[in-house]
Symmetry: C2
Subunit: 322 residues, 2 copies
């Protein structure tokens, strides 16, 4: 294995226009835009837990950036800079590192985000810690706490597809090739909804990204806002792949509690619906109204016949599922 410094120089330094100083000093130096607030998010991914050791390293690099960009998107912030702290195990050889770094860099580039620095070390298991910094005008961040009774509840994309992909990988769920490609792409290279988040500034009252499952993450909005919700299963957006799994007895669970989708769930006043649709069209992301915020604390999910369903509003909790 090459030395730490050589590894960093070779793979982890990319030209970062707008950054005065990158890897190679004690710190990176950046010039913030005047009058903006800073939004910062950190995520940790561990081999064997958040990804498989045989996951394609280029895709993993992209996803490592994407899951953090998704947090920035959920605040309505514009991503600017990223740092990467990485622990490499013997399973990560130099081609792995090269492909990972390329994927990480490419995903950042898509969202005009500069990779400004980080730290590299070795250990018994691969671990990836990403911190992303974004900017948002004061008072315009999309918080979890802003939902109001009467708001529509929206979600982007088609949740649950990543969970279908995971079930294919872990339990060999039979999927047609087209569906398999779609679901694995959603699982392995999710698309952070950065443009949608920016477009929802001044429109959405509250937002979160769906990483732990739709119901669980919506639950964080409801808790932070002190409100309840009424949802309708029949309104939930489903991909062609999900529609073809209607015979699965637990497809609603995959749809509502599957993790790793990185879609945005948000609330907005009913009269803002046309503006929401225009923002979504401009960002080229489909959005769907799935329910309504209520002033009671209760959370009710109705099935297709208008009967309340018995479903735990609980998502993936890393410790609980350890």
């Amino acid at each position: 294995m090459r030395s730490e410094f050589e590894l960093i120089r070779r793979h982890f330094v990319h030209p970062a226009p707008g950054t005065r100083l990158s890897v190679g000093d004690d710190c990176a130096l950046m010039t913030p835009s005047p009058g903006q607030e800073l939004a910062v998010s950190t995520d940790v991914l561990v081999a064997g837990r958040h990804f498989f050791d045989n996951t394609d390293p280029y895709r993993l690099g992209r996803k490592s950036a994407a899951v953090n960009l998704s947090d920035i998107a959920a605040m309505g912030a514009r991503p600017r800079w990223a740092t990467l702290g990485i622990t490499l195990s013997p399973a990560q050889d130099e081609p792995w590192v090269e492909a990972f770094a390329r994927g990480f860099h490419d995903e950042l580039q898509v969202h005009d985000t500069d990779w400004v620095g980080g730290d590299t070390t070795s250990g018994p298991v691969a671990m990836i810690a990403v911190t992303i910094l974004g900017e948002v005008p004061p008072g315009q961040a999309l918080l979890r706490s802003g939902a109001r009774a009467g708001d529509d509840i929206w979600v982007s994309g088609t949740p649950g597809d990543a969970a279908l992909g995971l079930r294919f990988l872990k339990e060999s769920l039979p999927l047609a090739e087209e569906d398999r490609n779609h679901c694995l792409a959603r699982l392995e290279t999710p698309t952070p909804r950065v443009a949608l988040g920016l477009g929802l500034r001044g429109i959405a009252h509250a937002a979160i990204d769906v990483s732990d499952g739709l119901l669980a993450d919506l639950g964080h909005i409801l808790e932070a806002s002190g409100v309840g919700a009424s949802l309708e299963l029949a309104r939930m957006p489903r991909s062609a792949a999900m529609l073809r799994q209607q015979a699965l007895p637990d497809w609603p669970l995959l749809l509502l509690s599957g993790g790793d989708d990185y879609e945005l769930c948000f609330t907005a006043a009913p009269e803002a619906a046309p503006r929401v649709q225009r923002a979504a069209a401009a960002a080229a992301v489909p959005v769907t109204r799935i329910g309504r915020v209520t002033d009671k604390g209760g959370r009710i999910l109705y099935d297709g016949d208008g009967r309340p369903m018995d479903m735990a509003w609980q998502g993936f909790d890393h410790f609980r599922n350890a």
Copy 2:
């Protein structure tokens, strides 16, 4: 083990005045000071590599913050905000987490730095990834690349004490109780030289923090600045503990190549020496002139009798020593 969300709420949320929003939304939101540049540093610590699993967790928490604060100090920046990404193995029970979080928080508090967010997960081995953000007026950052021929070379404190402490732990080097306490404190709770770094703005031409050994880190300054150096072993500051180890055949190696000191090594014009001394006195940190920057690329270390010593200018490299 408690759930991830409970763990974070219980131990990882501290009031952060000046931060509008901390753990509990997709991002933390901070308000930067107008007209400053941002300095960002990331460090990763892995159990069994950078610390022992039986290291006191409170001290480890302090050190995890300190090693990053030290990078900020070496830029002459003022630390403002920190995030922590942590992977906990089964060896880290809740009392461990509580003590670690308390230590991390306490060290940040000493340097007026707010703990604004992070991520917690579990894995087979403990890993700690810290990112610290600081602020520095444009053009005033202390870079590695600013050293000029004729500059004095300075170092703070007494390097090598952490290496003595490590040798006690790993090889049972006999140390008097007083020396042992001193060296273990330097190893386990190093003091980031934040006030000194701030005081050296406008005085020092180049600076770095000594994490990989004095010669190796000074070497980074020399390389970045395209200059050489002439050092004198007899001028090197030595603690009472180091002086009592003169019988050790390799005490110069501990002094010059031991890691984990987190002192500052910097260069300044000879006529600035009184200002350097005043800045050091104001920061209550001793500083010592150990040599001079030369215009040739050569690096020479003289022994007490003025003879060049044969010593590799190489420090601790995590991969090479794996």
